[in-house]
Subunit: 336 residues, 4 copies
């Protein structure tokens, strides 16, 4: 038994004071490590994946980017197969460069290409294989630390080979769900908690962002703030986030634009896709380029500036807070 | 005062026995009438629209296609303007042929082209103008009879000229919401009861239907039943129907396919878009071609057969029943 | 086919202009009629119920209190049985005086006593029997006109005798669901569209209203407006209205109080339970006493004044409008 | 950076393997400790509360009953005041014995008596004061560990004295919301994420449980399983759990009854209220009496047997899992 009165300061602070710290990782450091692991570590049953996790320096050496989220660089060499398995953790992949890998989700082969967001929602079997002549590295995002902390994790092995070696340009999920505002009549009666669309293609994301800036140029509403276009990836069957625990977004800043100082309950991980960003998170400042990542812990204020135009991918744990009515946001210059 | 015991048979039948009857209208009859009205009747403030409504023969001469829905052919000559107004009735337009009209919805100009579905949800200002050298005719669908029956109708006049004479290829609503699975971050916090997407373009609908048939060819799930592809037009912000009272769908049948005999609570109106359909509704049978329309009253069994491939647009009042837990469907060969 | 331009005035008015008219019925006129029917008309299979419907004078002689709602006085003599049946129409009974009848809902016997609200939601079997030595009259409310207008009605006969002749003080539904804020763990996983609680007892309603006035006396929030306490009967499993199409409420006005002038989309029927009310609906004014009923058509302004304290039961079709986003309310002195 | 392949076994187990362990605490041990703290530790600003937390032996000495939930014995001497504050953590109190304390929630004084459940949902100001001549001890339950783990905590001091010293029998929240199936019309338009009812009184809980057993005696549905009655405390405005992160229940077992072996994702804390329970959690077995507590970690199987009749209060973190679609339950003898 432990008395409250000695613990209250740490357990019940006046506002969130995360052990996680603002931190950035350079792609130029991460990729060589992934390549080295490609030479040293085989991929297969047991270890399951060749993934190097970003460990937030404030979290005691654990492979957690934030208290709730896992972010890792996964690396797959030509001809390699990451065997099939499934787990209750929600997962996605974001491709900052390269192509040639197909991820097979419940038997549906999904091409992974530069700029794409690929989903593997909880309890779907999935494996990957690389049919190209080059290795491929990408970003994995999962809710592993959150699921671990609340003891909700189930895991099951699938076949050691991927269940389909087809390599179509578009997955079956895209054929069914990848049309704007259109739902397949055969599927609408059974909406699932996760998006039925396994791939969000770069060509659509890019065009959506360009359209918002074009609207701004024409004097119409659409951007989040001046010079700042952004989309949320959504479940086309419900409009909700792509998965119950993770939000995914893409942001584009014009040269010269900057985001308003912002504080949010919950944490986020950002990866620069193209261009350069001047990022301030709490008392840290970085100048980041393509592939670089940074984390924003809960309630730490942050801004992103663009000396030149910059594109950024973002994921966060916001749906957890919103669904539990714990969300709170404060933006400089806006009413609460 | 009226006793129940003499009324119960008509008011509380064993199953729905609509006064509306199965009926079909030929495009070859409708279009000349619309053209004639184009010569005789001006468009402008007061009459507001040059629209000829389909009157179900069972409904006592009222301009109601079914007890809940209005369907009309609207006709606009070159240079004409249908003045702006708004009403609480939900409305859409479906274009079976032609182009050259822009409908301006709350100031956003929306091109109307063959195969497109255009929305004007309740209480949005809207007007139309024809900039082409040819007249244009299209199908209007509204919930006028339903709204009339429950006394929910408000109406307000807007300007006599359309509030924007721009003629862009894509509307602003499409720039914001017309990207598959992507939501503009500036808009996601305020979902409305109606779709924020004003136009569903034929190129997307056509491709979605083709994709379903391609999946069937490859042995995968996707079609509603053999040879029958279908999509529902949806609100991308919520996944719900495009408007609270109206469902809109598009169906494609391969040559040789036929739909299973089906009974539904609620009524629907169908328009053949291309090809020929052999339609049976209750004890009526028709052979219908492009532009022809037919209605299915509540609970009347119907099937659609395709001697040659056929595309059909459909709208129905199903959301009313689903939201009030009054929906019921029976399909031959399926468990209840 | 019918042109819009000649119909638009009636079909699309500037605001709701119901054919239904404000009207009141005196209990002193209704009860003798019910008694007379008790002498002349047997109750049994075929006619099913001895119910005399209030026919709004604006609705062409149809037995409809409003365009959507049925209100009738049902009358059952000692020893009589109203046979079991079920229908998709939602129904309730409100008891303005008397006792001695049990309504049996899906086999659960529910006592009917003065001041109680009893539910028979759509598609539940139900019959009534009178075990007292006196006849009993009560108010039936249903969505018959609405269901009839949209062709959604199914009906099925049950046994000619009630399926249980037990006469418990409390129904099984009350034993399960009649405890404030408590849900039976065996039932929570399957919430239905209608309330699982078949009876809302006068003792609870009376106390809830008295509590609101006591809060007002003590200077605390709780009443709707000065001197006006009111409760909505709710589904304890969801907090929604008791049935998908009907709202039921109870209102209490202190002597000297009056409601603010109010306009609502949708119609309502009120019955005075005790006391006297000075009612103004549109251009009509009535002085009403216990048992008297009046209707408020859609968008017609109304106020209720209480020279002496008055209790009123009310039912309305508001859930239909709210679920379809067609609701609108305007209260004198309040911002829109 | 940390590789996945060395971590996967611990982070992604085949099923939940909580660090928390099954554990029980005897009321006979806890109460003297609380009494001792009553002699030694003052209550007041800074420490805020005299509460002794149950520390699960598997959680490294932290004052956490489970990975998500805090359970503590709070103790207040005659005349003492626990000052007002508010925090985003959700809290409740359950009273196993005693009376004389009022908790003041946003200015509303709420009596605390034996068998009552009292709510203090997140971000409501609350303080306690003891007006009796005896000290009082009770159980506090909060989501402190969960909120701490996800960095969502805000805290604010209120007045050092309680904002109302009134000691009414019923709180204002009960006057408004404590009537079965009745909602105050003045409040229904703004449902909150937490229950508006601050107190769930023992007399209602007791009667609801007795009613379920009476139904079982009469051969009707109602109990969870033979001899096992149970209620969930619910938000009367929505039917949801009383707070977004915590579920609260009360269980009654007849003498001779036992619960089926059950596994659930998520953890729970139980307190015996009256009688004796033979509890098996995983490989631990205890014989527990009034006031004794035990915890069930995620996915650890448990059964409760009653050699004599037993009443138990339970709280769990289940809403977190259900809202995030991470819930899973397995009951011996039931289909999945």
């Amino acid at each position: 038994m432990v008395p409250l009165w000695t613990e209250i300061g740490e357990l019940m602070p006046m506002e969130p004071t995360s052990r996680a710290v603002p931190h950035a990782w350079q792609w130029g450091d991460l990729l060589p490590l992934a390549q080295e692991s490609g030479r040293l570590v085989p991929v297969g049953r047991g270890g399951e994946r060749r993934a190097i996790a970003l460990a937030n320096p404030g979290l005691g050496g654990r492979p957690f980017a934030t208290p709730t989220m896992w972010a890792a660089i996964q690396y797959l060499c030509p001809g390699e197969v990451a065997p099939e398995h499934r787990h209750t953790q929600n997962a996605f992949r974001f491709v900052v460069e390269g192509e040639g890998v197909w991820t097979v989700v419940d038997g549906d082969p999904v091409a992974m290409r530069r700029g794409d967001l690929l989903l593997t929602a909880g309890w779907h079997f999935h494996g990957h294989h690389n049919i190209a002549t080059e290795p491929m590295a990408w970003l994995d995002g999962l809710d592993i630390p959150f699921a671990h902390g609340i003891d909700s994790t189930f895991f099951e092995f699938g076949p050691e080979q991927v269940s389909s070696t087809e390599t179509p340009d578009r997955s079956r999920s895209e054929q069914l769900w990848g049309h704007p505002g259109l739902q397949p009549l055969s599927q609408v009666a059974r909406p699932a908690p996760s998006s039925p669309l396994a791939a969000y293609r770069w060509e659509h994301t890019d065009r959506a962002l360009a359209d918002q800036l074009a609207l701004e140029d024409a004097g119409h509403a659409g951007v989040v703030e001046p010079g700042h276009a952004a989309v949320r990836f959504a479940n086309p069957a419900t409009g909700a986030d792509v998965m119950a625990t993770l939000r995914t977004e893409f942001h584009r800043l014009r040269a010269g634009a900057a985001t308003a100082r912002r504080q949010e309950v919950g944490s986020s991980v950002w990866q620069v896709f193209t261009g350069r960003a001047e990022v301030i998170v709490g008392d840290r400042t970085w100048d980041l380029a393509a592939g670089d990542l940074f984390v924003v812990p809960s309630w730490v204020p942050f801004t992103i500036g663009a000396a030149e135009a910059v594109d950024l991918f973002r994921f966060s744990d916001t749906p957890i807070y919103e669904r539990l009515h714990l969300d709170r946001v404060q933006v400089a210059g806006q009413e609460q």
